[in-house]
Symmetry: C2
Subunit: 374 residues, 2 copies
């Protein structure tokens, strides 16, 4: 009483504190004095910061945020628990200064993110400490989502699904792929997405034979099969879904493709459970599609992890060596592609649980529900 108290710095939220604790335990395993985090999504994961062009530096006791003048206020708002260093020159110069102060021995960095050019500068900057490729610490931490992350992914799915339903009602014969994609992205943003998870794919007819087609000027006609692969980014977390819709009628060839892919997806999802090797999920879809003559038409992996990045661990690929664990969120998205004809892919987002899995996405995949009026 009587004495003015200075405002105390905002305490670090529990979920970030828990992540940093796990990060520091792994740093200790690797005998790292410091860990230079350059991947933006990892910076958000560990420190809550969404700026660009900087790095987060984690040490046993401190958390630094090296950024530039464009992000001074943003750093104070988003990550007041980090010591912000507003750099005047390069990141290297600031790492040098920190090295002088702390006398680090081994400094870890993200070899899967940092460029050769950056690493060369940082290597000199932290000398005589050794700059060393650490194991992918944050990637491993991020594979299993904490409950708040699953909630965020669910929100990203909700937004994507609601936007899809509205967009399907606005699709009319004569619209271009690009117009449909624009509408879908607009509807997601109206519902709170900061943007799409990745460039939205809307591919009509034979364009859908390109698994990563860009929406162009091809127009929708009666009888068109339209492959739509889209997702929303909400508070940093991403959803990733694919549906194929048919305008008024379904051509027999597509009907057959759809039924086969649908069954492949069902089998792959049924294979998802904690303790299962990722490649077994891929095999469930792939061996089925091969058995019905679509082996060579399935040109990609069955799925991938999903979270702050649209592609993260684990990979549900032919050689996917990870073992699924409860809390992982993955896509399951088999597809078949026939050049000159088109493609069918069905993709949902799945939470691995102790006893199996939960399909987080809720849009129907039944063939009969895939017909739109146009």
């Amino acid at each position: 009483m009587g004495m003015a108290r200075r405002k105390t710095k905002r305490a670090i939220p529990n979920h970030l504190a828990a992540r940093l604790e796990r990060c520091r335990a792994r740093m200790a395993d690797g005998r790292l004095s410091a860990y230079v985090v350059s991947a933006p999504t990892d910076q958000f994961y560990l420190a809550g910061f969404t700026g660009e062009d900087g790095v987060v530096v984690v040490t046993a006791r401190r958390l630094y945020l090296v950024t530039d003048g464009r992000f001074t206020i943003q750093a104070a708002r988003e990550a007041p628990w980090a010591k912000a260093i507003i750099r005047k020159a390069g990141i290297g110069a600031e790492l040098s200064r920190l090295q002088l102060r702390h006398r680090w021995c081994r400094v870890g960095f993200q070899a899967e993110h940092a460029t050769v050019k950056q690493a060369a500068i940082w290597r000199k900057a932290v000398s005589p400490a050794r700059l060393t490729q650490s194991k992918p610490i944050t990637a491993e931490l991020r594979n299993r989502k904490d409950p708040a992350e699953v909630v965020a992914i669910r929100r990203a799915i909700d937004v994507a699904e609601a936007a899809f339903k509205v967009t399907c009602r606005t699709v009319k014969i004569g619209m271009t792929e690009r117009q449909v994609a624009a509408r879908l992205e607009f509807e997601m943003q109206k519902r709170g997405a900061s943007g799409p998870s990745f460039p939205t794919i809307v591919a009509v007819g034979s364009n859908a034979a390109l698994p990563h087609a860009r929406p162009g000027s091809r127009r929708i006609a009666s009888g068109s099969a339209i492959l739509i692969d889209w997702g929303a980014t909400v508070d940093g977390y991403r959803s990733d879904l694919t549906r194929v819709v048919f305008v008024r009628t379904i051509r027999p060839q597509f009907r057959r493709m759809y039924i086969m892919v649908h069954e492949a997806q069902r089998r792959a999802i049924a294979a998802v459970s904690s303790g299962v090797e990722a490649r077994m999920v891929d095999r469930a879809a792939r061996s089925y599609l091969a058995s019905v003559g679509y082996g060579k038409a399935f040109t990609h992996s069955t799925g991938h992890g999903l979270g702050l990045d649209v592609h993260e661990g684990p990979s549900l690929a032919r050689r996917g060596s990870a073992t699924l664990e409860a809390g992982m969120v993955v896509t399951v998205e088999p597809g078949v592609y026939v050049p000159g004809v088109g493609g069918v892919r069905i993709e949902d987002d799945i939470l691995v649980t102790g006893s199996g899995c939960e399909v987080l996405s809720t849009l129907s995949t039944n063939l009969d529900d895939m017909v739109i009026r146009g």
Copy 2:
């Protein structure tokens, strides 16, 4: 006559042939047997391919495109002049195979793009050839735009400007930043943009004191100053513009900020000409803003090159050492930011010419034209 001719492979277009020729000349200067191009925009620049997750390999006589099964058809469509290699495993395995066939000596790669992890794999793959950091060959080529590129950038500007005009008419009191950003991106896509050049910034009031603010849930009110930084991507090329609009009235503090930034921009643009050092353009804006008391409020560089990437060379920064050349396209975008109050930035896209420059963007920057109804 009488004999069926096989369709000949599509010839490489002149603009790509010219770029490859210049690239190969630089490879020869650096005694490179091959050049591994991993940056996606550079792959598009040299080969016309827009896929992901692969590399383009340029040799003295050949052009390879290493990609995966998702892009088989796209590679044939977009870059039939390149020899497509559909990889089953990693890029490294394919580089190994090429090395066995061609017996390269020195293989250049993009140290400013390739990650440390990729480079380590490629280094082993091309052994006994040496993997070597080349000078940034494509970045240097790309600094000066050829006429077709300037046409493409103009289109990207047209789309962004038309969308902006329409969006300003739809802005209403009570709308959120995010709603305005969503509308602007939608209007760009409707006009042929494949997407925004970068995440659109719409910042109301004090949020505009963050030069890279994300649009959020803050609502527009009478008297709001709204900073909008946006651009369109059209056929791969990008525009980048900023305007500040005022809802119904302009508060005196903003009026003063605007007038100063406007004059700073005028001076910087007047300084743009071929033969001028980039830092002189920065100095023109910076010294003026310092003279009127906004030296510390101008927290970033004056501009940057623009093309297939939203940030490329040359940098119009305090220490920008490049010399401007005819054909370069740069942004000129001074700004001042006052914490708690807001910010003003005015940004146009400028073509450097032999005798000075041409402002490619056409939206008014006059303060009186910046008032909207809301």
